[in-house]
């Protein structure tokens, strides 16, 4: 198996009120294609920082991030955006839907970005919403949806372009247990289709569903446990969205 996502000596320092805070202090990490990896650790251990750096949402202070053979920490903002729209899907704890767009428009957005026509985007978005169990919420405003429904919309948006890697930052952290189980089931379905899944969580039961659990402490990898072998996966090219 080949590494689809790799971090080499990744470090991040924040400046807060003139004082330097070490977020990450040299993390080495390799995620295989089709793997489901959970990142755990106490608050302030650097979980979200690591996820942001791996997704190119933030720049490291030192070290390298490689995504599918491309060093992304050196890419421009525009280059990163173009890469994200094709290869990455991101699910946030607080959903982060665009409030001025309806539910279906939120799902359509990544499809339009990769050049789908509006008709194609609308059809794909509607199919995705039906698959995720929210077929009747097309025109709803994000504020009109429950937390679970918003997270499903966020998930649909993250999966819309069938990205090679889905990154999720506490995707169930803001949901009740029943809704959380539903969201996890949907994420696992993505993994079952061969998409690589990297998930940050506080919840050990959520982490237990992963192939591998990485524990961070004080900005360093403290522990790494393989729970099961990664599944045989579909080649990456088949998963990428049409260009």
């Amino acid at each position: 198996m080949t590494a689809v996502l790799e971090a080499r000596s990744l470090a991040k320092t924040y400046e807060t009120g003139g004082a330097k805070v070490l977020g990450l202090r040299g993390v080495d990490l390799s995620i295989e294609r089709g793997e489901f990896v959970a990142i755990m650790g106490p608050s302030g251990s650097g979980k979200s920082t690591l996820l942001n750096l791996l997704a190119g949402l933030d720049r490291p202070t030192a070290g390298e991030v490689w995504l599918d053979g491309v060093r992304i920490d050196e890419l421009s903002e525009a280059g990163l955006a173009r890469l994200r729209r094709r290869k990455l899907g991101f699910v946030f704890q607080f959903f982060n839907l665009v409030p001025t767009l309806s539910a279906i428009e939120n799902v359509e957005l990544p499809l339009l970005l990769v050049g789908r026509t509006r008709r194609q985007a609308r059809t794909s978005a509607a199919e995705l919403m039906r698959d995720l169990g929210i077929p009747d919420k097309h025109d709803a405003a994000p504020a009109e949806l429950s937390g679970g429904q918003q997270q499903r919309i966020a998930l649909a948006r993250a999966l819309a372009n069938k990205p090679a890697i889905v990154l999720a930052d506490e995707p169930t952290g803001n949901l009740d247990s029943t809704t959380a189980r539903g969201v996890l089931r949907l994420l696992r379905r993505a993994r079952d289709r061969g998409q690589t899944l990297l998930l940050v969580t506080h919840d050990a039961s959520v982490a237990s569903t992963a192939d591998r659990v990485i524990t961070l402490r004080d900005g360093l990898v403290a522990d790494e446990t393989a729970l099961r072998a990664a599944r045989q996966v579909t080649p990456l090219l088949e998963l990428e969205a049409p260009s």
């Binding site: 942001n52 903002e77 729209r85 767009l101 957005l109 504020a143």
Partner: protein, 589 residues
């Protein structure tokens, strides 16, 4: 509690300095325009009264066909003093450059003469000489020593300009046309030997000047009784003479009134935008205040007090700016009067300006804060976002022919529809005043070089200055709205970047949407500006003949210029916002 509300209001002013400065600027401009409009007439009253006294002005001035008619009026009861009847006739004055119709009167001076001309330069006409009224001399460029020819069909005379004089009964040339000149009786006889073609002017002073109007009515009735045809009679009271002399400020007052209304409308829009944006930003704070026990009325009072304080400061500033400027604008009237216009500084004028400006600001603030204050405490504390716009316009925004960033930007802009509407209103009015300024320039430019304009020189300058003020205010508002929009959307920009929009695409969502809004607003502003200009022109000169609309290439510059301004005003803050790291932007609240 009042102390606490005041404290909250002043804290709001201090922490939102740009919004506060913008509010004060536009309200001060509106107040200054109102004060100017009121003061400009007052500042000319003193010089007219000085001129009236120096001329031993007539309480009633009668123009009649014969000397006998003049004597009839002079003999009416109530007359305390009468001048000798003065003959006058219509003639043509010719210089090497031009021919103009003028009115020639006999030069009648003497300390007892009523309504005598007041010399300001040179001497009396004397044999072979002529004295011109000052505004006529200035307009035609006639200097002492120049030679002119004055003629009627019956005779003519070559005359030398001997002096310049003014009269409290003669308004400024060319508004009062034909202009006035004085010659000796002998010259008058030479120009028009047939006395039957002469008219007579009888000036009288009354025991009771306040009774000038009833006296004029009695005089008219007496002349009618004596079978004098109405068409040959004209009677003017001293009040009418004063109004006529000060009539030159009328176009200025008209322009000032129009601009005051436009500025107040823009002030309403701008304050509504700023207050609603602040109320929206502070929804959580409002919720906390309500949780602490403030009623919606008290929450509204915080915003009202803030606007009131800014409005009072603005009115004082407007008065301080407007009152000293008024004499400059009244200068055209002074051409026919003794001395310069004075600074009136009438305290009633600041009161009137306050009574107009403050309610506009208060209404705008209360209207905009009302919605935020109505939310339940829980809704308010749970800071809300704008919801998708569901109007037909918003649905049309996501149409296939629109590029995706523009469609996204329009959806966002229309989600805050009221703000978009207010901004469009401010842009439309500003565009309309630019159309007015360009059309005024075109009208003045279309007049033949030899024709004397009755538009005071100061008027175009005043229009251009007020245009510039409005333009600066609107552009500043645009920047403020752009900054507000950017601030409100930093988190959304983070989401866009996380999904895969490039910084350039994100910038174009904001710039494109604002540019589209501004384009529509300026296109609407052109017909509005044309209608306003024609209305102003008709109000100032009685009809629209001679009004020239700015040529289309000039008008086309308005939307083009607006687009350039919008891109400059909105582009930079949007670009800066996209530089915020995605992770940081996603944490932004």
């Amino acid at each position: 509690m009042t102390g606490m509300l005041l404290k909250l209001a002043f804290a709001g002013i201090r922490t939102r300095l740009l919004a506060s400065v913008l509010t004060v600027t536009i309200a001060a401009a509106a107040a200054a325009t109102i004060v100017l409009g009121l003061e400009v007439r007052s500042s000319g009253v003193d010089p007219w009264e000085r001129t009236f006294a120096a001329a031993n002005g007539a309480h009633v001035l009668a123009y009649v066909p014969t000397r006998a008619d003049a004597n009839l009026i002079a003999g009416l009861p109530g007359v305390s003093d009468r001048g000798e009847p003065t003959p006058l006739l219509n003639a043509t004055m010719t210089t090497p450059q031009r021919s103009e119709p003028i009115q020639v009167a006999a030069w009648t001076t003497g300390t007892t003469q009523v309504n005598r001309p007041v010399p300001t330069a040179g001497s009396a006409p004397g044999p072979g000489g002529i004295v011109f009224e000052r505004s006529l001399a200035d307009a035609l460029g006639l200097r002492i020593g120049a030679h002119v020819s004055v003629s009627t069909p019956e005779g003519s005379a070559e005359l030398r300009v001997r002096g310049i004089a003014i009269s409290s009964a003669q308004a400024r040339y060319p508004r009062s046309n034909p202009g006035l000149a004085w010659v000796t009786d002998a010259v008058l006889k030479h120009i028009e030997p047939d006395r039957g073609h002469w008219r007579w002017m009888q000036a009288v002073r009354l025991d009771d000047p306040a009774a000038a109007a009833p006296f004029a009515a009695r005089a008219a009735a007496r002349l009618r009784a004596a079978a004098v045809a109405d068409s040959g009679v004209s009677l003017e009271t001293w009040q009418q003479q004063r109004d006529s002399a000060l009539l030159d400020v009328q176009p200025t007052q008209l322009v000032l009134t129009t601009f005051a209304i436009l500025l107040l409308a823009v002030a309403f829009f701008v304050v509504a935008i700023l207050v609603s944006a602040r109320a929206s930003q502070q929804r959580r704070v409002i919720g906390l205040l309500k949780a602490a026990g403030l009623t919606p009325r008290q929450v509204g009072a915080v915003f009202a007090l803030e606007s009131l304080a800014l409005g009072l400061l603005a009115t004082a500033l407007g008065f301080a700016l407007g009152a000293p400027l008024a004499p400059r604008l009244a200068a055209p009237s002074a051409e026919t009067l003794l001395g310069s216009p004075t600074i009136a500084m009438n305290r009633w004028h600041i009161l009137i300006a306050s009574c107009v400006v403050l309610p506009v600001l208060l209404a705008s603030a209360l209207m905009s804060s009302r919605r935020s204050a109505r939310f339940t405490v829980v809704e308010a504390i749970h800071t809300g976002d704008a919801s998708p716009a569901r109007s037909l316009l918003a649905r049309a925004a996501i149409r296939p022919f629109l590029p995706m960033p523009l469609a996204l930007g329009l959806k966002d802009l229309l989600a805050r529809g009221r703000r978009a509407l207010l901004l469009a209103g401010a842009i439309t009015l500003t565009g309309a005043v630019v159309v007015i300024a360009l059309s005024l320039k075109a009208t003045l430019g279309a007049q033949p070089a030899t024709e004397v304009s009755d538009v005071p020189d100061e008027l175009p300058l005043l229009v251009y200055t007020l245009d510039a003020v409005l333009l600066v205010i609107t552009v500043t508002t645009l920047v403020a709205v752009a900054l507000l929009s950017v601030r409100e959307r930093i988190r959304d920009y983070g989401i866009f970047k996380a999904i895969g929009l490039t910084p350039a695409q994100i910038t174009s969502t904001l710039v494109g949407a604002h540019a589209a809004l501004a384009l529509v607003a300026t296109l609407v502003s052109i017909p509005i500006g044309i209608v306003l200009y024609l209305g102003l022109y008709a109000a100032a000169s009685g009809n629209t003949t001679g009004a020239v609309i700015a040529p289309w290439p000039w008008l086309a510059l308005i939307p083009i210029g607006t687009l350039v301004l919008v891109v400059a005003a909105v582009g930079l803050p949007a670009r800066l916002a996209t530089r915020i790291r995605t992770a940081e932007a996603l944490r932004f609240e």
